[in-house]
Symmetry: C3
Amino acid sequence: MEMNIRERAKKALENIRELGPLVHNITNYVAANFQANVLLAIGASPVMAHSKDEVEDMVAIANALVLNIGTPTKEILNSMIIAGKKANNLKKPVILDPVGVGATKFRNYLVEKILGEVKVNIIRGNASEIGAICGLEGKTKGVDSIIKPEEVLESAIEFSNKTGTIVAISGTTDYIIKGDNIFECHNGVPLLGKITGSGCAVTSIIGAFSAVEEDKALASLFGLALFGVAGEIASKSATGLGSFYSLLIDKLYNLTPEEFSENLKFKIKRS
Amino acid sequence: MEMNIRERAKKALENIRELGPLVHNITNYVAANFQANVLLAIGASPVMAHSKDEVEDMVAIANALVLNIGTPTKEILNSMIIAGKKANNLKKPVILDPVGVGATKFRNYLVEKILGEVKVNIIRGNASEIGAICGLEGKTKGVDSIIKPEEVLESAIEFSNKTGTIVAISGTTDYIIKGDNIFECHNGVPLLGKITGSGCAVTSIIGAFSAVEEDKALASLFGLALFGVAGEIASKSATGLGSFYSLLIDKLYNLTPEEFSENLKFKIKRS
Amino acid sequence: MEMNIRERAKKALENIRELGPLVHNITNYVAANFQANVLLAIGASPVMAHSKDEVEDMVAIANALVLNIGTPTKEILNSMIIAGKKANNLKKPVILDPVGVGATKFRNYLVEKILGEVKVNIIRGNASEIGAICGLEGKTKGVDSIIKPEEVLESAIEFSNKTGTIVAISGTTDYIIKGDNIFECHNGVPLLGKITGSGCAVTSIIGAFSAVEEDKALASLFGLALFGVAGEIASKSATGLGSFYSLLIDKLYNLTPEEFSENLKFKIKRS
C-alpha cells in the first residue's frame, strides 16, 4: 500500500506536468498572485474569475474549482454557490479553503451557506478553521490558528463521516481525514506559515492534484506533501522570508516526480 | 529604416526613464502588483484606479490608459468605458489586454462593448485571444493560448485594416500588425509564459511606450522587445520561476537604452 | 531622552515579535500581498477584510486598524467608516494611508469623509498627500509625490495641532509631527520608493508598532525607521528592484531588536 501511494504520487505529478489541468480559483486579492504562480510552477494552469456573469462558463472548461473566502463579500458568496453547483453538475472536484472561519460571524455564515448548497469534495484549513466548521468553538487570530490539529481530530472524523467530505488539516503534522481513515503528512517547515497565502497556495495545489487523482484523500495528501517537500528544500538555502519565497517557487518548478515521491513523508492511520 | 528603429527604441526608453509617464491601469487583482513593479522598474509611474467615481480624473492626469479584463465585473466594464471615452477625448493612448476572451461569453461581451464604445489604439493578446476578437472560433485554456500566432495572422490583418487598431500578438514570435504592415519581434524566452501576469505586465509596458512614442506599432514592438530582452538575460542566471521573477525585475531596472537597442530582434514585413 | 527612545524602539520590536499583534488592513489589491508579507516578516499577524458584513467583528479581535485608499470604491469607504468607528469605540489605534489624495476629487472626498467620521490616530503619506490633506494645493503624479516634505511641514504642524492627529510625512527625510513636536527620521534609501506599495507597507508596519507602543508619534517613527533600516541593509547586496524586494523582506525578518535600535537615525525637533 505504501509503495503504491508513492507510485501514485509520482504519477500524479507527472500528470499535472503533462496535462496542465486548469484550476479555477474564486479567491482573495492577497494570495491570488501567489496561488497563480505556484500553480504555474507545478505545471498546472490557473484562472481567477469571480463574476457571477462568467463563473459557470469558466467551471465548464476547468478541471477543478477552488473556493477561498480570504477577502469575502456577499457577491463573491453568490458566485461561489453558482460555480459550485455547476461543478457539482459536471462532476468536477470542489475544494474549499475556509480562510479565517471562526474569526467573524460573516465567515461562519459563508461557510454554512456554501456547505449547504454545494457538495464540497475537500476542505483544507488550519486547526482553528476546521474546529470552527466541525462545531467546536473556533479559536482563531484573524486568519492564523492558535490551536493544534490534534485538538480537532475527533470532530473532523465525525464531520467527514457525516458529510463524506475529505478534511485536510494543516499544521506541524498535517492530517487528511476520509471518514475513519487518516493520513498523516510529515512534510513541511515552519517558514511556510510565515509567508502570506501559503495556506491558500497549498489549497490550489490540492485543486490541481484533485483534477488528476481520483482518490481525493490522496490528492489532498499529495498537495500538502508537494508544498512541504519544496518548502523543506527551499528552507535550506533561504536567508529569510523573501529569499524563501523565491526558492520555494523555484523548487516547485524544478522538483522531479521522482524526488517528490522519494521525499514524501506520510503515515496511514485508521481511527 | 532598421537603424532608425533601433535609434527610436533607445530614445523611447530614455524618454520613459526621464519623463516617468503615468500609466493608469484598470486591471485585475492577480497581476496588479507585478504590473506596478515592472512599470516602476522601467522608469514609468503606475497608478491603479477602477472606481467610476474617479477614473475620469485619473485619466486626465495620466499619459496612457491600460484596460485589462483579467478579473472582470460589470462595474469594472462600466468604469473602463467611462475612462476610455475620456482618454479618447483627451487624445491619450488606450491599450486593451483582452485576457481570456474566448473563454467565457461574458469576456466576449466585455470586449465587444469596449471596442464598440472606445477607440482602442492597441490590442495586445495571445493568439487565442486575438483569434476570438478577430472573429475566429476562440480556442483558449482559461487565460492561456492553445493556438499559434501564425494561425490568426490573416484575421488580425483584416481586423487592423478595418478598425485602424494596432494588433500585437504574443507568442514565440510576436507579431505587431498595423494594417498591412507587420513587425516581427523575436525577443523573449518560454519562461516568461510561466509567471502569472506576464502578458498583463507587457501590456502595461506597451502603455508606457505608447506615452512617449507617437507610432503605436513601434510602441508595441518596443514594449514586447524590452520585456523579451530582460527575460532573455534574466533566464541565464535563473534557477527556477521564483528567481527568474526577481531577476526579470532586476534587469528591467538595470537595462540601459543602449543594451536594449542592441538586443532588439525584429523584422519588418509587409503582407 | 535619546537613549530612552532607542530603548523603547528595541522593546517595541521585541513586543511585536513576542505578541504578534493582529493588524486589520482595509486596503488596495496592488499592495495587499506585500503588506501582509512585511507584517509577517516583522512578527505581526496580518488580516485583510473589507466587507461591511464583517469589519466590526474583525476590528474587535484586531490590535490596530489600517485604512488605505489605494484602490478605493464607495463600498470600501462605507466599510472603512464602520470599521473606524468600531475601533474608536474599542480604543484601538486607527492609521490612515491617504494614497493618491489630491489626484482625484473622489480621493479628496474619501479622506474628508473618513476624517469627519473617524478619529484617526496617525496619518502617514508622502508630501503631496499630506499637502492635499492639510489644505495645500495637492501636487501629485498619480500616487507619487512631486513635492518635498519640507514644503508641507508648516501646514502639517497646524493640522496636527488642530486635530490631535499624528502626521507622518515620508521622504528623503521623514517627519513625524505631533502638534509642535517633530521627529526627523533619517533612515531609508531611494530604492524603497521604486517598489510598489512601499508606502502602504510602511503604514502597515506603523500599525503593528501602534499596537505595542502607547506613544503614537514614536510608533510612527519606529515603523518608518524599521522599514528604512531594513532597506538600507538590503540595498547593499541588491542587484536591482527584484532582488531588493526579496532582500528587504529577508532583512525585516532577520533584523534583531538590537540592530534596529542601533541603526535608528532620528532627531528630535521642536517647532
